[in-house]
Amino acid sequence: MSKVGQIFVRANSRHGLWTIPLLVAVFCFAGLAASAADFVSRQNILNLFAQATPLILVSIGQMIVILVKGLDLSVGSVVSLTTGILSLNAPVYVTVPAAMLTAAVVGLLNGVAVTRFRVHPIIATLSITGITQGVAMFVRPSAGGTVAPEIVALVSGQLFGVYMPVIWTIAAILVGWKIVHASRFGLHLFAIGGGETAGTFGIAEQRNTLAAYVLSSCFAATAGIFLAGRIASGDPNIGTQYAVDSITAVALGGTQLAGGIGSLHGTLIGCGLLALIANGMNLLNVSAFIQTVVKGAILLLVIALQPRKNIGL
């Protein structure tokens, strides 16, 4: 088989099957560009970037956790809580560190519950979702408040003529690449997810898993900062969709939910594909409710195409 052919069918490589989602994304892009006149406009492409950036941030964190056979359902509530903290009446140099620290504590709780107390990741992160969501609603009972102008500028302005969402996306990709594909920690993530024997080869499974959960929460908090800057206020329910969306994006990008197989570029393709589908349906005036149905159906389809060894969770 030719080299190109091999790349396209490399289903069981460590990076997962990301080439087919890429083809689908290119196909979607071409189809939208041909059918909707407004699609390739400068404004729409910018909107696309701004819509995809928070999802990319959350999904990178989600992927890190999925690589170690975990799942983080609490990312949505962390996003909400972050916007709540940022919309409190305090200067930026207080709110931003406070938000990141809170997120780190949430991640630490997830990680400790999963590693030390052997709670199943889904149960652990689900219960922590409840707690975090409660705190978010306590901090900001309903949408409102004002976010410091510095954060708003950090999201909506330009830097050297480049729009800020683009810069955020590039920064997220660089940081994510360093963590997942260019560090010892990243290699260990793949090893832990890959099998039972990582511990025997001297990899600190518990500590690295803990770090994965903390990173996931911190990425979610960064997404929260971006969103707070975009809507310039806090909202206790803004993050609700991100748990499912990030899992969908990660799975779409060829990352195996059983752990050990996945890639940053796959996740980016998954996020891009989701954003394209949402944008396309908006341009075609599809009802928002039908859009949720389509998203759920995509998730079901992708999951059904990822066969695993064990039945159940």
Binding site: L71, S127, L300, I311
Partner: protein, 314 residues
């Protein structure tokens, strides 16, 4: 030393729900003695009947190492079917049969994805839930649908010896489930899958089929819960909180059923009663919505940690 450790083990064997229930009962007795009245407590118990019925299915699914997060969507769909006015000309029995059929169908879809395709149960049932909620919201166009037929209301408000009819129905259903699990081999299948799926498979247990059936029963229970939930409200509603799903998992775990533990009906049953009492206690103490979410999350986490510690010590 040995007697102490065996006492410790015996304490661990009691479902945490029983301990929590006693604690809550004493708290309520101290705080509001006048609330300890069968009629009042019955009314509070009536509010958790839908949750209790969902838990009857959830415990089967959780015990076979799966999970069902689609109850909210099924209840919403049942609610929509009854209250949208589409079926006003129909008599009662076919409406009920149709709703149960919907529950069965959704449970079957869940079960086939989880059991046959071996997809992750959380993701599948989460996705099915999203699809159902989106579908109902699209059909209802974001507005609450119409009224619920009067027969449903009448049934819901019926009382026998001051005990509300829904509570009696729930107890009867739990008793049936308990007898079913005890009398049929399916109950043993669920037990054995819960303790070790691999050895269950090699002992000749049809693991796939048992998981599918557990999901089908869970879907059916959600539909029954939807019928009760619909009867409880005068008008149909498109709002149905995800807290039901969280509470159903919490009550199940609190009742002593976790992944790898046998299915048992009465522990989770008391777990649901705990939630009824918890709502009363929190309401009388003036705890708001955020506080309730935090307490529910803490309960799941603590119960799960309790079992995690125990499995480690064994």
């Amino acid at each position: 030393m040995t007697s102490r450790s065996s006492l410790f083990r015996a304490t661990l064997r009691i479902p945490p729900s029983c301990i929590v229930f006693v604690v809550l009962l004493v708290t309520l007795w101290v705080l509001r003695p006048n609330m300890m009245n069968p009629a009042i407590l019955g009314t509070f118990a009536r509010q958790v009947v839908p949750l209790g019925i969902v838990v009857l299915g959830q415990l089967l699914v959780i015990s076979s190492r799966s999970i069902d997060l689609s109850a909210g969507g099924i209840i919403l769909l049942v609610n929509y079917l009854i209250s949208s006015g589409l079926l006003y000309s129909w008599p009662l029995p076919p409406i009920i049969l149709l709703c149960l059929g919907v529950g069965l169908a959704v449970g079957l879809v869940n079960g086939l994805f989880v059991g046959k395709r071996r997809a992750s149960a959380v993701i599948v049932t989460l996705a099915v839930n999203i699809v159902l909620i989106g579908l109902v919201e699209y059909l209802a166009n974001g507005k609450p649908p119409g009224d619920v037929p009067a027969e449903f209301r009448a049934l819901y408000n019926l009382r026998l010896w001051t005990i509300p009819a829904p509570v009696l129905f729930w107890v009867a259903l739990a008793g049936t489930m308990s007898a079913f699990l005890g009398a049929f081999v399916f109950g043993r299948f669920v037990w054995s899958i819960g303790s070790n799926p691999t050895s269950a498979h090699f002992s000749g247990v049809p693991v796939e089929r048992a998981v599918v059936i557990a999901h089908v029963i869970s879907g059916l229970m959600s539909a029954v819960a939807g019928l009760v939930q619909t009867s409880s409200i005068a008008v149909g509603s498109v709002r149905f909180g995800p807290e039901l799903i969280m509470n159903s998992i919490a009550a199940t775990i609190l009742g002593g059923v976790v992944f790898g533990r046998p299915a048992e009906v009465w522990g989770p049953f008391v777990g649901v009663l705990c939630f009824a009492l918890l709502f009363v206690v929190m309401t009388t103490m003036g705890v708001q919505e955020p506080g309730k979410l935090i307490v529910q999350g803490l309960i799941i986490l603590l119960a799960a940690i309790f079992y995690g510690l125990r499995s480690k010590s064994n």
